[in-house]
Amino acid sequence: MFKKNYLVPLAAILPVLLLSGCDMNMVVFDPQGPVAREILDLINWSLVFMLLVVVVVFGLFGYIVWKYRATSKNKDYEPPEEHGSTKLEIIWTFIPILIVIALTIPTIKTIYKLEKVPEGYENKKPITINVTSADWKWIFSYPEQGIETVNYVNIPADTPINFKLTSAGTMQSFWVPALGGQKYTMAKMETQMYLVADHPGEYIGRNTNFNGKGYAGMEFTVEAKSPQAFAKWVKDVKSKAPKLTEKSYINLLKPSNLGRETFSNTHLAWVNHADMNAKIYTFPELYRNHDYPGQIFKDPDNHTNEKTEGKSMDMNNMDMSGKSNGGEHSGH
């Protein structure tokens, strides 16, 4: 029966563990930009209240369970009848209300703040980068610079970046935890967010919204460079990188995990997936797996509808990492 007591110290360890989280260098607690810092301030604010709740309730719990446990000594003790106490019940209705209010106000402030260019950067001209997620890679287009990268994005440090997010297919989520929170990328929709990196450095970004076989590999790097280095990089790319064609772009959109790629033009010239009436690029046959094959329907606005030939060719030169998906006829 006394075993129960173990639970009390065990439970007391939990908040300590939670606290110790702060110096474990977890990426969320180690912000590298004003956006992430803004969110971390909010998280820390909430942690204070939550720890308070945890400590109070755990303490009360431990005290009550210990004090009123059944022992051989209090065998004849008959607990009193009590229906409740209006006073106490009002107290513990109001304390949570106060905590909720204390958390709500900064939350809403932060939500609105994150919609805008971070404080202190209002006067710096933001750089726009269009992010297009496809299965299973990230495509970054720099409309102002006229270049495009795959699976990595270089940005000037200390400059606000206006990320315009969209997807060529499935719903995905763009997250660079060191720099800020995440947002979904969706086809025929544009979502937007600002990020700033304080210093030059490399940060990991990734998709957090599950989107099929290649999901685990959907990582990219954000490399913040000094403005000079960034300008130089752009120049280099403009002069050295190959051009992306519509045909090679369609190949790029096919399901695959890729390494880094760089182009000296952007796909925005022929399609912006954020556009409500954009053509779509789907390749259902390439997603076959060991399932019993189901019927595939023709999308009325698929890009293949415009072309009469060359379709079967597209299917052949797919570059799949991992196992072949096969069509209906290539049974396992």
Partner: protein, 658 residues
Amino acid sequence: MGIKWDKFFITGDPLILGSQIAILLTMIGIVALVTYLKKWKWLWREWFTTVDHKRIGIMYILMGVLMFFRGGVDGLLMKAQTATADGKLLDAQHYNEVFTTHGVIMILFMAMPLLIGIMNVIIPLQIGARDVAFPQLNALSFWLTFSGAMLFNISFVIGGSPDAGWTAYFPLAGKEFTPGIGNNFYAVAIQIAGIGTLMTGINFIVTVLKMRVKGMTLMKMPMFTWTSFITSIIIVASFPILTVALALMTFDRIFGTHFFTLGGGGLDMMWVNLFWLWGHPEVYIVVLPAFGMFSEVISTFSRKMLFGYKSMVFSIVGIAFLSMLVWVHHFFTMGAGPAVNSIFSITTMMIAIPTGVKIFNWLFTMRKGRIQFTTAMLWALAFVPCFIIGGTTGVMLAMGAADYQYHNSLFLVAHFHYVLIPGVVFAVFAGLYYWWPKMFGHMLNEKLGKLHFWFFVIGFNMTFLPMFFLGLDGAVRRSYTYSAETGFGPLMLVSAIGAGILAIGFGFLCYNIYWSARYADRNISSDPWDARTLEWATASPAPFYNFAKLPEVKSLDAFWYMKKNNDGLELRENEIKEIHMPSNSGLPIIMAIVFGIAGFFLIFEWKIAALVAALGIIAGLIVRSFDYNDGFHVPVDEIKATEKAWRKVDKEVKDHVS
């Protein structure tokens, strides 16, 4: 129809081949055993066709435990795969299937059946009724749930498992990105089970409103009845949304419509919206009855009435009301405007208020009590601290802006496991240990129970506590692998070991069920816990008519005061009258089988066959419409004999508690 027989069974994978063989052998084994024991008739008469709420409840529980096993194996596979960096146990496709089925099975085929099962057994007893309002509908509900669950489970070996996550977000879950039939299983199997659940909701609302025994006003109902009643209301309010969402999904996948697709103007966000419009209330559907069970267990083993009964009731109603107004917090990161995110942050955080009230009421129920550490009570005690962690991290997640950093990370996974495992699984365990004697007439072994408890609770904390930190370090959910550079390895390994310990705990439960069924003392009191509510006022196990004479309720915790004032406990011979009971019916199980067959054809997109099978459903409805079987009367002599048998035992009450 062009059936491709070569693709019918999933082939080419040792894991699946093993399961296929195991399933086949188990099935042959069961059929052979039943045939050998000549139990087919008995099974059909006593179980398959029963409309007795207690037996239906037991079947629900049995199914829930089986599904717990299946979902648990999925969970273990996931933990084994991610125990080390670059794990090689499963490939991406299998991992995706495994976490999808883990989610669906745990929520819909484990948590719901276990809770509805216990509701089934206990609610009519607690309110002093002879059965639920519509016994035959109740049987149909169960068999539909069962049929849906079986349909969902065979996907592993036939046709292919769904692999788009239990949330099945579009466009991924559409034909454009998952052209196999795997996700049809999701759409159709859950639909069938969902219809069953919806009917359960209606059934229990009417049961609680119309069948309470004399004197039991709404505010004298036991807390478990209250929470189950409110749960039923949420079921009726939210399951139609699921029905529609799944139907639209079915149309998209099987008939080529464009609700959520990428092409044709479909809107993938609408699926997310509809899914969570149902999905969030669903969380409360599983958590509220659990709260009710904790209330019963805590009050019984503190030997005190529930502290603040009224505020408890108000807080459940408050939670139910808020439950329909918070769904957007599941997709704060979708980019909806700041106004939307702010409003839903507020409504979500408001849920903490009634929940906090409940926690304090439970604590103060124990204060000044005499707390006995039975296994049931241990679960209730462990629930409080674990759930506080789940709850506080829930508040953190509710803060829209902060959620941008937590969303879809393992922090979120840890949070909802910290809510659902203490909030539902602990409750179900508490409920099973507490009500086992009421169901089977013997107790579960307390010693094994305590082993079960300690292994499970420690394993659970070990599994999920590290995930909070992993999530804050950038580890995401549903990723089948991670590289060594991430540094997630050590904590992932701790988590995996924890899962193993947790599984051992579950093993103790299974062994306990077996051991107790064979060796436990049958000579126990009908009221072994010295409990407070009406279900203990009759025999254990309860006779099929529940009460020979319906008790009369004068206060809260009616049975406690009946015992205290020695009022209404004895049964005089002349008080026994004939009892009218509903007859068994084979229709529900047949209907469910037909549903299952129609669903199977639909999943394989054999539309005409599905249509033909669906005609069978209509035929069943017609048969039901013309069925005028009015039940039967239990003769007085039979009641007398039954009552005599247990009331003698009642004299020699043994103290099993200490």
